[in-house]
Amino acid sequence: MTAPLGLDGALEQRVLAARQRAEPVAAELSGADFRTAWKALGAHGLLTDPESVLDGIAMIEGLGRAGVPAGLCYALTSQLFGVQRPLRAALGEAVLPDAVRSGELVLCHALTEDEGGSDPLSMRTSAVRREDGSFRLNGRKSFITAAPVADLALVFARTEEGNHPFALTPFLVDLDAEGVTRTEAFGKLALPEVPMGALEFTEVHVPAERMLGEPGSGLALLTATTAWERSVLLGYALGPMQRVLDRTVSWARDRSQFGRPMGASQLVAGRVAEMAMALWRSRGLVYGIARRLDDGESIRRLAGEAALTKISVSQDYIAFTEHATALGGVRSFVAGSGLTAELFGPLAGLVYAGPNDLLRVTVARELGLPVQN
């Protein structure tokens, strides 16, 4: 067992406590559909947001180390920190039903459309206000994580014509409402344990009180949800990375090649050290920004750091995976070999929660360059 890199003793204890709680569940989860797996995690209290962001990430790392599939770790991180936290921070505790906190109700974040997600101001989905203050929602949201299984959606819709920054308004939409259709789950290759799909809205009635904030406040909320995602979503990968590092070290120690342990080769040792560095940096960045969020720093002022964290951790996860794949040899490409590489998950990090290339623009803007998206 390798020492956990970049965790102080107290934090490691919290990770281990969550791992211990999750271990009996993890065994039941392989091959289970999302709802069944989610319910099993909920029954062990493993879906509830602890008080601090730090504890939340430690809990999720514990789940990953226990062997909970990466897609479920991703889904949980996204639920807690990509949707629930930003909504509560912006609009108060009462904004979400209690059943969301226990994981009984699943949320999804419906921003992206078929024409693109990185340019939200060009979205087509619209909400038209009626005389009684309610809204009529029409449009289609696509590539939405958890859409096939969610109960409620945070939907961003256009309440004014044109691409101006205050044209968007957020709504909390009941997905059982009349006029809501879900597509079949997409044939998703990355993080397949959580399904992805599209939502179609045809003349959906949205009560006035389900508007979140004010007309036009979509920009403020989506800036917050996306910055939260960029800060800590990649925290989902810490547990799976530790597992892969542990098994790679065992493999390199135990496997004999050229009459000596594989790990006696300096090239092999170098790759293992590179993996350790990637995990070390990733932990430092994710737990570091989690601490700052716990200290009450404004998510808006952390937008630049959030982008830097997301780019750095996703790139490190890819590099880490490449080393693990090389050391696993042909077994990396054989299911059930014990060294099977998970390639799509890490690579998907280039694309979700803001493509890394566009986040580089955010970073450069923060530094004062006059660069446009």
Partner: protein, 86 residues
């Protein structure tokens, strides 16, 4: 320096930083939205700078078109909270 002047200078600075060409001086009544001077990143950067320099937090409901029409409108949205904060 009055709140209005501080805010005017802040908005002008952020707009100049974000622009790729020369920018006319921003006055308290310069229309910010119609002229396309503010894109979404610039708006959120102004919000971040207000939070940093003025020590106030703007709620989502305050980050709307009515408050970003011009610097004077923005000042009305920022100032009441500022007096509370002090």
């Amino acid at each position: 320096m009055t709140d209005l002047e501080r805010l005017r200078a802040l908005v002008e600075r952020v707009i100049r930083e974000s622009a790729s060409g020369p920018v006319e001086p921003i006055e308290p009544d310069t229309p910010l939205l119609i002229s396309g001077l503010l894109d979404s990143l610039t708006i959120m950067k102004i919000v971040g700078e207000i939070e940093r320099e003025h020590g106030v937090r703007l709620g989502d409901a305050e980050i709307v078109a009515a408050n970003f029409r011009d610097v004077r409108a923005l000042c009305r949205a920022v100032a009441p909270e500022q007096t509370v904060a002090r």
